[in-house]
Each structure stands twice: as C-alpha cells, then as structure tokens.
C-alpha cells in the first residue's frame, strides 16, 4: 500500500492499493480482482448516509472510491477512521460475495431440485438416479432417534387409544405410575 500525501494510513488492508486525502475527502483505489463491483456497491451503500460517495475507473482492473464528508471533519484522524470503516465494510462485502460464489454449486443444485419438485413427484427412475450420500448422516450410535422411540414409549395419541382399550381402573393406575416416574426423575 502506498500513500500519495503526508497522511499516514498504515492500518488499511494491503489490498487497498492506495489512499489519497484532501482536507475533506479521501480516495481509495482498490483492485477489482480482489474486490468485485458488487462488494464495492455493498460497502458504498452503507456510507451513503454519512458521505458523498463516488466510484470511478481510473484504469482497467481498478476502482477508485472517493468519500467526501458531508460535514467538516476533524482532519486526518476522522478521515483515517472513515477509510478504516470503509475498508472493513469492503472486506465483509467481498467475503459475502465470495461465499455466494462458493455456494453456487449448492445453489444450482437446490434450484434444480426445487424446479424438479414443482414439476411433480419424481419417477422411480429419477429416484434411482438421485445421490443422497452427500446430505445423509451416518449415525452409528443411534443418537438421532427420539427418546420415545428409543425407550418404546407411546405418543399421546397412542396413549389415548391404549387408554380407550383398557378398563377404567387400570387406566388410572397407568396414569398415576407415569406421573410418579416423571416426578422422581
């Protein structure tokens, strides 16, 4: 990173190619390979409330972002803060952009699945072609099993059905036993 004037901006990420400051504005040149336009848009949008923001293309492969304070600023320190905040936003937006790109395969897969779903139930042939290995989870310890299934307990609906089948006295005893068991746990 280099600076074009006396103001030092040593805490700015290296990928910001250069920083130039006047008394009220600051310009940063960023590499468009590292910071795609969508990231520059994202970071700039956040600063619209606080600054006048202008983006231009000084040369191919570079964007220059000029932030001009809407009100007077306390010289270098405030400008430094502005550049730092902008650089942080830029980094965050670039990262989000990268994540979206990284997930493109997943996005496309899900989109295809969604469209396929909208076209109706898959045929048996389709099902045979699906590969579930990526999304399936191995569970050798049998953890992914409800407590009721694991312990052979009945759901409330099943309990109701069972209750309807047994004589009244026995049902009352069963309920009482269940309550006692829970209370002593």
């Amino acid at each position: 990173m280099s600076t074009d004037n006396q103001t030092s901006f040593t805490d700015i990420p290296e990928a910001v190619v250069s920083v130039a400051a006047t008394d009220r504005s600051v310009s940063m040149v960023v590499d468009s390979e590292l910071y795609p336009l969508q990231a520059v848009y994202g970071a700039s949008y956040i600063f619209i409330d606080r600054c006048y923001v202008f983006i231009d293309r000084p040369e191919p492969g570079k964007y220059r972002v000029t932030l001009t304070a809407k009100e007077s600023v306390e010289e270098a320190e405030a400008l430094r803060q502005l550049v730092g905040e902008y650089a942080n936003e830029l980094l965050s937006c670039a990262w989000r952009h990268q994540v979206t790109q990284d997930n493109r395969v997943a996005i496309e897969t899900v989109t295809v699945q969604a469209i396929a779903g909208a076209m109706g139930e898959p045929s048996l042939d389709d099902l045979a072609d699906f590969d579930f290995t990526d999304e399936a989870l191995d569970d050798p310890l049998g953890i992914a099993q409800s407590w009721e299934d694991k312990h052979g307990r009945k759901s409330p609906a099943e309990k109701e059905q069972a209750k309807a089948k047994v004589p009244e006295g026995e049902a009352a005893e069963a309920t009482e036993a269940a309550s006692t068991e829970e209370a002593s746990a």
Partner: protein, 634 residues
C-alpha cells in the same frame, strides 16, 4: 525447545469470515418439530413431542426468512439435529445467502463429520444445552445418557470461529452444582456460558414444586459461579469462557446486571412454531414486571419474572433500583428503504398487507414511515426500555418523532423534531390491531402548541412563587414582567450551578438558589402561593418526600403545577444513530412518569391538604410528549 506443532483443533477447517461472539446478523428461529432424543424434566414442549413439521413446511419457512431480510436461520425444536433433513436445510439456507445456526442438545454434533458438513454449509452459531459439568448432574436433568456426547460436541465446535453458547437451565437439581459446569468448560475459551432460570412451562409447570428453585437463590449461585469463572479465566490468562445469565431479574444480580443474555442479545428477530402461517417477532410475554418494578432504572433490559413463578411466589424477592437515572428517549435506526415508488391510497394497497406481511414485525420495535412515495423501515434496538414500554410509547402515547437535526441529542424540539402519526392508510384496516402500523410525518409544531397551556398558567400567577427546577429560565418573557411589576415574588431553585450563575446575571428580580429539590432548606415560616415543578418532576429522586415538605408551605387557595415529559422514540438515520450512541451524554431522569403516575404519587396527600384538580392535559397521539397537572390546595 518448545513444541511448535499446531494443536490438533487448529488444523481443522475454520468457518470463513466468522467472528467469535459477533451477533450482528439478524436471526429467524424456526421450530422444525418437537420430537427429541432427550427427555428433560423441564421440557417446554412436553405436551407436543409427537408433532413434527414436514420437510416442505420447513423449506418454505427458510425461504420466507430470506425474503424477510434475515441474515441467519436458526433451527430449533424439539431437537433439530435428529431430523434426516438437517444437512439439506443447511444447504438450502446457505444457497439463499444466509448463515445457519442451531439450538440443540448437541448430541449429534459429537460426530465430527456432521460438524464438518454443517460448517461447510455456513453453520456459524450454536446454542447448546449442557446442564451440569458431570455425567451425574447433566444426565439427571435430561433423563438420558447424554453427557459424553454433548461434551464431545463442545470440543468439536470450539475453536472453529463459531458463535458458540452453552446454556445451563437451573432447577433445584443443579443449582448447587454450577461451578462444576464452569470447571468443565474452562478449556474452551470461545464459549459463552449462560445460566438460565428454569421456565414454568411444559414439564417446568407440571413438576413446578419438584423443580422450581427460588429465584433469589438462583441469582446468588449464578453470581458465585460467574465470579468464580471470571477469576479462573484470569488466573489461566485466557480470554474466556465468558459468563452470562438469563431470565433472572437484574435487581438480584448487583454488579452483574450487564451480563444479561436473551433472544434479543442473540439478535433473534422473529420465530415460527410448527403449523404457524408466518413468522412472529420474538417477545417477552411469558415474563412480567411486577407493580413494585415501576420506576426501576433497570427495567429496560430486565427480564422480570416468569408469569408462572410470579403467580406462585409473587415479587417479594425483588428490590427495584430507583436510585439511578435512566434514559428518556430511544432511537429507531434506519434499516432499509422499503420502497421508492409507493403510491397506495388505502389499506388494501398497503405494503405491509400486500408485500412484506403484517405479523413478522415487532409492534413496538419496528417502525415503517411513509413520506410521499418513499417508505422506510426503522428498528429500535434499545435496551434502555422494555418491549412493553416501547409499545406504549409508540401506540398508546404516540410519541414518535423524526429527528431532522444534525445534533447528537435534539435540544430544541420544535425545530429539531417532526412528529410521526399513524398514516391515513391505516384507517379502517382489518389488520390495524395486530399491525406495527404505517406512520407519516405531521407537519405541525405540537411542542409550541402544547406549551401554550403552561404559558397560560404562568401568566395567571400572583404572589409568592417557588419554581423548583427553574433550569435556564425558558419562561423569562412571562415571568420577568410579572416580577418587575411586583405581581409575583419569585424563588428559583436548580442544582445546575452554571444555569443559576447565568440566571443571576439575567434576572436581578429573582431570588435564586443552587441546590437539588431534596436538599432545599427554607425558613420554617416561608409560605408560597404557587409551587411550580416544570419539567423537573422526573429529575427528582424522591418526589413523595419533596411533596411532603412543600405542600404544607402552600397557602390555602394556592396551587401546585407539575409539568413533565413522557419518554419518546426518535427515528434517525444510521449516521445520526451512530453519533448519538457514541456521545457521552448523561441520563438525568430518574423516571419517565406520565400524568397518571404523578397523580398516583399525589393521591396520598389529597385528603390531608384538600387537593382539588383544576387543570390537566394528557399525552396521546398528535399531542407533544408534555403533560400538565395542576391542583389547588385548600
């Protein structure tokens, strides 16, 4: 020579871009079903454990969360990790550009490959239950052999750049064992350990007598555990774990008030249960602030007591803090320009009913403002006020303003603030009562209009006048001619030395004292025809004591006039909000009393001094935030 090989956990893939402990991303909480592989005695969903949401239902809800602008989807249950669709839901969430989170008992995350798959699909947040530091305690609480798996999950998740919280629900069974949990989690410096009061709901309600500890005891043990944890972390020279608490009234946690942790501190905005048609805002309606909490300075962030606990034990354990000042306003920060070309004329065209939906928005904290064709959404994150207080300020009192100044804190309301009122668009809307509402600017100076009533009262004064809290003398144009003509004799009192010094220069006709109302000493024979407390009532620490001293000094036929402001919300841009939040302005109000609150304080004096109300103006939508109460002393 030291061993420079990396520790095993550092070789694992780290969640890219995730910042430990960062909680800025707004979360939507989706309950995928209520089945669980544990059977906690205090299970919230005891009665509905057989209900599971379908894959398609949860898929639809994830898409809706993205549409609403959330930044993270968090799945909860029951236990979400026992669902075979878990990885599919993480993939779907990531494909929509959102982060993924889990509220879980953690058992499935004991499998390292499950953790890897989820982190690759943007798992960034885990809120994991661990109720004891040993097998005996944890397994007793969850009635399963679960400790080893849950503890292994903490090991798998720690050091991965996740926002990782471990929640410990406190019942009678583990309240004496909290330090054991602290010891067990000390090796994991990026964990937030949270101690939560058990909720009397589901199992917690059914087994209330068996499970429910007294909240005072819980608070005591939590403070001991946090203090112990802080000390151990410092001794070890680590940056964590950190410690927090939830659902315990803050007055019971002196010195640890700022460690509160709840759905809002975790940036949850909305949630949805199985079978619900759309998201709802997260709320605190399962908790209550007791009558005795009125005027407590901690009320904003304080959770209060669970309703079920309050019904059984009342609020006798609480001791409200009225000895410290609190804020009298909060900010709504601009979040989004929802539309630049809105042309709707009736509720049928409304963006909320036809576009973004009615139910997902918090009725107090979310604010939609229309100005011509533009519609913007603002959000109040303030914890200086509780949800109920914010709702009342917005809807009952109508005290919302757009800050059109460039100041940290507006000080000339008539110039700096434009009132916001419910839009004509809402008239006759069938969703009026459940909607957060559309608001529009009212271009009328309500402050000057309403202050005219105060000016009218002052112009009618005759005789001896005591002005408690005279400030910088805003009513000079009325008081000065009366004093100079000998119509009134004026004593002004204020604790601010600079204000009094300045008034001494400007008001040679006035007697001025620099002191607080509580410290004011008067000649035993001194009497007044009129006592004024103008926008100073909420600055008084003990208004009852002051009335007790002053009312005997009011001559029969004399008056007491109290004027003050209720709290208000300010809609501001991001820049204004940032500047305001950075400013070091001190709070000066001990309460934000309304006219009704002041009347309640006056009531016990009514018969003794023959008080009769002669004027009142209340606060409501389309009035300013200033109220007036005037009584005659007979």
């Amino acid at each position: 020579m030291s061993d420079t090989r990396p520790r095993p956990e550092l070789l694992r893939h780290r969640a890219p871009g995730a910042t430990p402990g960062s909680r800025t991303g707004t979360k939507a909480l989706i309950k995928v079903g209520y089945a669980c592989n544990e059977h906690c005695s205090f299970c919230h969903t005891l009665e509905v454990r057989h209900i599971q949401g379908s894959t398609a239902e949860v898929d639809g809800k994830i898409r809706r969360a993205a549409e609403l602008g959330h930044e993270m989807v968090v799945l909860s249950g029951g236990e979400p990790t026992i669902r075979p669709e878990l990885v599919h839901w993480a993939s779907l969430t990531a494909s929509l550009g959102l982060d993924f989170g889990l509220v879980t008992n953690g058992q499935m995350l004991a499998y390292p490959e499950v953790v890897e798959k989820l982190i690759a699909r943007r798992l960034r947040y885990v809120y994991l239950s661990l109720h004891g530091g040993t097998r005996k305690i944890h397994n007793l609480m969850v009635r399963s052999d679960a400790f080893d798996a849950a503890y292994k999950a903490v090991e798998n998740l720690s050091g991965r750049g996740l926002d990782l919280a471990v929640n410990c629900v406190i019942t009678r069974h583990n309240v004496e064992h909290l330090q054991g949990l602290v010891d067990a989690l000390l090796p994991y410096a990026d964990v937030e350990v949270k101690f939560s009061m058990v909720e009397p709901k589901g199992g917690g309600d059914k087994l209330f007598d068996h499970l429910m500890p007294r909240v005072e005891l819980v608070a005591k043990r939590v403070m001991e555990a946090i203090s112990y944890g802080d000390r151990r972390v410092a001794e070890l020279g680590q940056r964590g774990p950190t410690f927090s608490h939830g659902a315990i009234p803050l007055c019971l946690l002196p010195g640890y008030e700022d460690r509160f942790d709840d759905l809002k501190t975790h940036a949850y905005r909305t949630m949805i249960e199985v079978g619900e048609p759309d998201f709802f805002p997260v709320d605190d309606l399962n908790k209550t602030h007791a009558d005795r909490c009125h005027g407590c300075a901690l009320r904003g962030p304080c959770p209060g007591l669970y309703n079920g606990y309050h019904e059984v034990y009342g609020a006798t354990e609480l001791y409200p803090r009225r000895d410290r000042p609190r804020s009298n306003s909060y900010n709504y920060k601009l979040e989004k320009l929802v539309s630049l070309a809105f042309e709707g004329e009736t509720h049928d065209d409304c963006l909320l009913r036809r576009g973004v939906g009615v139910t997902p928005w918090d009725r107090g904290r979310d604010l939609f403002v229309r100005n011509g064709k533009r519609v913007a959404r603002f959000r109040a994150q303030s914890r200086d006020f509780s949800d109920r207080e914010i709702y009342a300020i917005k809807h009952d009192l109508g005290q919302l303003y757009l800050d059109v100044s460039r100041k940290d804190a507006p000080d000339d309301f008539a110039r700096d603030l434009v009132q916001l009122a419910r839009s004509p668009l809402c008239e006759g809307c069938p969703s009026f009562a459940e909607c957060t509402g559309m608001f529009e600017p009212v271009f009328e100076d309500v402050f000057t209009r309403d202050d005219a009533k105060v000016r009218e009262v002052l112009a009618s004064l005759r005789g001896e006048v005591l002005d408690l809290g005279c400030g910088e003398g805003p009513y000079e144009s009325i008081l000065a001619p009366l004093a100079e003509a000998g119509t009134i004799r004026y004593l002004g009192v204020d604790p601010h030395a600079a204000a009094i010094a300045e008034l001494r220069q400007r008001w040679p006709w006035a007697e001025l004292r620099c002191t607080g109302g509580e410290e004011l000493e008067l000649d035993p024979e001194r009497r007044f025809d009129h006592v004024l407390i103008l926008r100073a009532w909420n600055h008084l620490r003990e208004p009852e004591r002051i009335l007790d001293q002053l009312l005997p000094r009011v001559r029969p036929g004399g008056t007491l006039t109290i004027v003050d402001n209720v709290a208000f919300g300010l809609a501001r841009t991001r820049d204004q909000t940032q500047r305001a939040e950075r400013s070091r302005a001190q709070f000066e109000h001990y309460r934000n009393d309304s006219l009704a609150d002041a009347a309640r304080v006056l009531e016990p004096f009514g018969a003794r001094f023959g008080l009769a109300e002669i004027a009142r103006s209340t606060v409501g939508p389309r009035t300013s935030n200033q109220w007036l109460l005037r009584v005659r002393v007979s």
